[in-house]
């Protein structure tokens, strides 16, 4: 039964990467639609709207970070797989949940906010600094989740 531990741990890494990545994919997609609309009217705003479109992309990276730290923790990257008990495996899975779930939700809503911010750029291109701030507000919560996931994963002893 002790083999199940590593399965749980890997599931944790997978959850972090796939939920947070899905959130970013959704968010970047939503923002991208708005960005394409603006560029079709005024191609010179491309650089600005591209930056705004990228903002919801970070959740996926945060998921990747937790996934990577988890993988190196259980030794799947270096080759020497550590013996993970079921309890530790479940602990790692639980530690990965915050960034996964918050990444999914915040990525999507950040995408919506970024799409509206792209609307600001369409009408008032000089207000870029402010437009950028609104999506960044949403991101705070993904950062907090990343922090907790990271601290938890690195605190678990294997």
């Amino acid at each position: 039964m002790s083999q199940l531990g590593i399965v749980y741990a890997l599931m944790g890494a997978a959850v972090a990467v796939f939920l947070a990545g899905a959130g970013s994919a959704l968010g970047v997609g939503i923002a991208g639609q708005a960005a394409s609309g603006v560029v079709s009217e005024d191609p010179s705003k491309f650089a600005k709207v591209l930056i705004l479109q990228l903002l919801p992309g970070t959740q996926g990276l945060y998921g990747l970070i937790i996934g990577f730290v988890t993988l190196s923790k259980i030794g799947l990257l270096g080759g020497g797989v550590v013996d993970v008990s079921v309890q530790t495996g479940l602990l790692i899975l639980a530690a990965c949940l915050p960034i996964g779930i918050v990444g999914l939700i915040s990525g999507t809503s950040q995408g919506k906010t970024a799409a509206s911010a792209i609307g600001i750029i369409a009408k008032k291109p000089d207000q870029f600094g402010k437009a950028m701030l609104f999506p960044a507000m949403v991101e705070t919560y993904a950062i907090l989740a990343l922090l907790i996931s990271f601290l938890a994963v690195s605190a678990i002893q294997v």
Partner: protein, 671 residues
């Protein structure tokens, strides 16, 4: 570090000097025209709308001609040329070129006319091509379509809609007129039309045509009295002729490219004159005098006053601004801090009565940015690129230049934090030495490695956050003191300092903090007691004093309690600085992922190639995404957490009346 003090300058001069004075003011470019005088019977404004619009039209014409030149005789522009900024030209050269401004205007007109002609010629070619197309089905016919026939025989050319074979046409003819003799030749057949000729005896021609019409026969729409193939070759010749004419026009336009610089000056000249006439239209003028009034920075006013009174007969009056007047804002900072002015502008310039926080912000900006990116190699790259661009394009546009300077310093700070935390392309040194040289070598961190001790960095992040926020609160105190609002200073600033400092002193020795930070801090009993009393006094003070504006005791206490609730706001503000840790980790870990991926090729030639490829692509991506992240989140920490403590913004930027050129700046002769 300051918002420049503005004054109002009013100039009254004779009308004969009007042009010269306005031009002088425009070339000095330090005064924002703003009239407070109403029109009356003596002083009236001139209507310059017509002149202005004609200048603007001329500028637009020159711009358009330049665009066309770029189209026909493109000047190669590198990707970075947008950073190059405007050229600097001597006044002499500018004037000498502009002496021929009528000719230049003609050149601009000629370029536009040639372009129009070319477009017309292109349209002509299209028309010919269309005729050729309609002629194509008749090409195999070797007599003209209008061929009358011989003495006894008549030719009837025409079409039937739909695809027919010879047999099917004969059989349909036979159905309609079985007793007529005809000879049918199909010239060509397409999916939707069949082109053919019918030969018949002259006396039956009428009947044959009637019979043909009843099955849908139609004569060709265009009757050409020459052999189709000849006509086509003539048309083709005409096309090639027109094409060579187009080529000549294009050559002629490219030949005019020598006037490019002249046209640029011309466009600028008319733009500047347009601006001048806009101002002219605002000036109150009497029969022989005129008035100019506007804002001017204090440090410039003496210079302008001297320049004008020395040369012209005029009265220049400089006065301080009235209490209720809201002056435009111009910032003045040292070389290091001025880089951050763009960031401040993005939030909002200081409103009336606010301090310019740029200096404080710039230090924290550079410090926090470096902590978020925290990789020595990335920092070196950012600094290097910014420095190279600054050196290469000395005439870069002002705001761009400032940002470049800011990021140059941010890059240095990143380098510093990278050395502190041992980030050199993440763990590239370790990975390369391990993969390709067999034994692992690493550069030890000067301070510590955050990945190994995240809690420690988290604590420091919050510590920096507290310092940042306290500075913000301090600036608020400074503003209250400056405005002599001592009660506000005590209630809104000192009491909060007391409460927060007291809470911190109480928190630090607590068990919770010890378990998180892993270090036990023990204060002497006196300090602990001091902390307790500070917190209590601060809290009570805030409770009692925050609602000091209202007389009603209950409302006052309620407002105080509400203000006290802001303590949760302080908590979330401090926690917000945890992003310093998170973003720093993000850079490091993603860099490690890149290195790990690169090293998967193993120790071989192929492995090295894989590594270099992954290294370049991966680190470029990581640098780009983390630069963006650091920029966004440093801005956020400044705008939300720091400014939230003391700064609102909302000032209006200073827009001086100046030579607003697009292509070149004119160097002023120094006098």
């Amino acid at each position: 570090m300051a918002v420049l003090q503005m004054q109002r300058m009013s100039i009254c001069a004779l009308k004969k000097d009007r042009k010269a004075i306005l031009e002088r003011l425009q070339s000095m470019g330090v005064m924002e025209i703003n009239h407070i005088l109403e029109e009356d019977e003596d002083f009236q404004c001139m209507d310059t709308a017509n002149a202005r619009s004609s200048f603007e039209k001329a500028a637009a014409a020159a711009d358009q001609a330049l665009e066309l030149l770029q189209q026909y005789a493109p000047v190669k522009q590198s990707m970075l040329s947008s950073l190059a900024g405007k050229d600097l030209v001597d006044r002499e050269k500018y004037d000498s070129i502009l002496q021929a401004k009528d000719q230049l205007m003609k050149v601009a007109g000629k370029i536009r006319a040639l372009d129009k002609e070319r477009a017309e010629k292109k349209a002509h070619i299209l028309k010919i091509e269309n005729s050729i197309e309609s002629l194509t089905p008749w090409l195999p016919l070797d007599v003209p379509l209008s061929f009358e026939g011989t003495k006894y025989v008549v030719m009837l050319p025409g079409t039937l809609s739909g695809l027919y074979t010879l047999d099917s046409i004969y059989s349909r003819m036979a159905e309609q007129a079985p007793d007529l003799d005809v000879d049918i030749h199909i010239i060509s057949a397409e999916q939707d039309a069949t082109y053919f000729t019918v030969f018949c005896l002259r006396e039956t021609a009428k009947q044959v045509e009637d019979a043909l019409r009843s099955i849908g026969f139609a004569r060709p729409s265009q009757v050409i009295d020459r052999v189709p193939a000849d006509v086509k070759s003539d048309m083709e010749k005409e096309i090639s002729e027109v094409q060579s004419q187009i080529g000549q026009i294009e050559k002629e336009i490219s030949g005019l490219a020598v006037h490019r610089e002249g046209l640029e000056f011309l466009a600028d000249y008319y733009r500047v004159r347009g601006d001048k006439y806009e101002v002219l239209g605002q000036l109150p003028q009497s029969k022989s005098t005129f008035l100019v009034s506007g804002y001017i920075p204090e440090r410039e006013s003496a210079k302008v006053q001297k320049a004008l009174t020395d040369k012209y007969q005029c009265v220049v009056d400089v006065e301080g601004l009235k209490e209720e007047e809201e002056a435009p804002v111009l910032l003045k900072n040292n070389r290091f801090s001025s880089g951050a002015e763009g960031i401040l502008e993005a939030f909002g310039l200081p409103a009336k009565g606010e301090v310019d926080p740029t200096v404080f912000m710039s230090f924290f900006y550079v410090f926090l940015f470096g902590m978020m990116l925290s990789d020595a190699a990335y920092g070196a790259i950012v600094s290097g690129v910014c420095a190279a661009l600054l050196v290469k394009f000395p005439r870069m546009e002002q705001s761009m230049r400032k940002s470049m300077q800011l990021f140059f310093w941010c890059g240095l700070s990143t380098l510093f934090w990278g050395v502190m935390f041992s980030g050199y392309f993440g763990d590239a040194v370790n990975v390369i030495s391990k993969t390709f040289f067999g034994h692992e070598v690493g550069i030890p961190a000067l301070w510590f490695v955050p990945l190994n001790d995240p809690m420690k960095l988290l604590m420091y992040s919050m510590l920096f956050g507290v310092i940042h926020l306290f500075v913000g609160l301090g600036l608020k105190g400074y503003m209250s003191l400056r405005d002599k609002k001592y009660l506000d200073f005590f209630c809104d600033v000192v009491l909060w300092y007391m409460l927060l400092a007291g809470l911190l002193i109480m928190l630090l020795p607590s068990e919770m903090f010890t378990s998180i930070a892993g270090i036990a801090i023990v204060f002497p009993a006196a300090v602990t007691a001091l902390g307790k009393w500070l917190a209590i006094l601060g809290a009570v003070g805030i409770l009692l004093m925050s609602g000091r504006g209202t007389k009603n005791i209950a409302v006052r206490l309620a407002l105080g309690a509400y203000d006290l609730y802001n303590i949760s706001g302080w908590l979330s503000d401090v926690l917000s600085y945890s992003r310093l840790l998170a973003l720093g980790l993000a850079t490091g870990v993603i860099a490690s992922v890149v290195n790990q991926m690169g090293s998967m090729g193993g120790k071989s030639v192929f492995g090295v190639i894989v590594f270099i490829f992954a290294f370049v692509v991966g680190h470029t991506f990581n640098l780009a995404i983390n630069l963006l992240g650091s920029y966004v989140h440093t801005n956020r920490l400044q705008f939300v957490e720091f400014f939230g403590k003391f700064y609102e913004g909302g000032g209006r930027a200073f827009h001086p009346f100046k030579e607003n050129t697009k292509y070149a700046d004119i160097k002023e002769e120094t006098k």
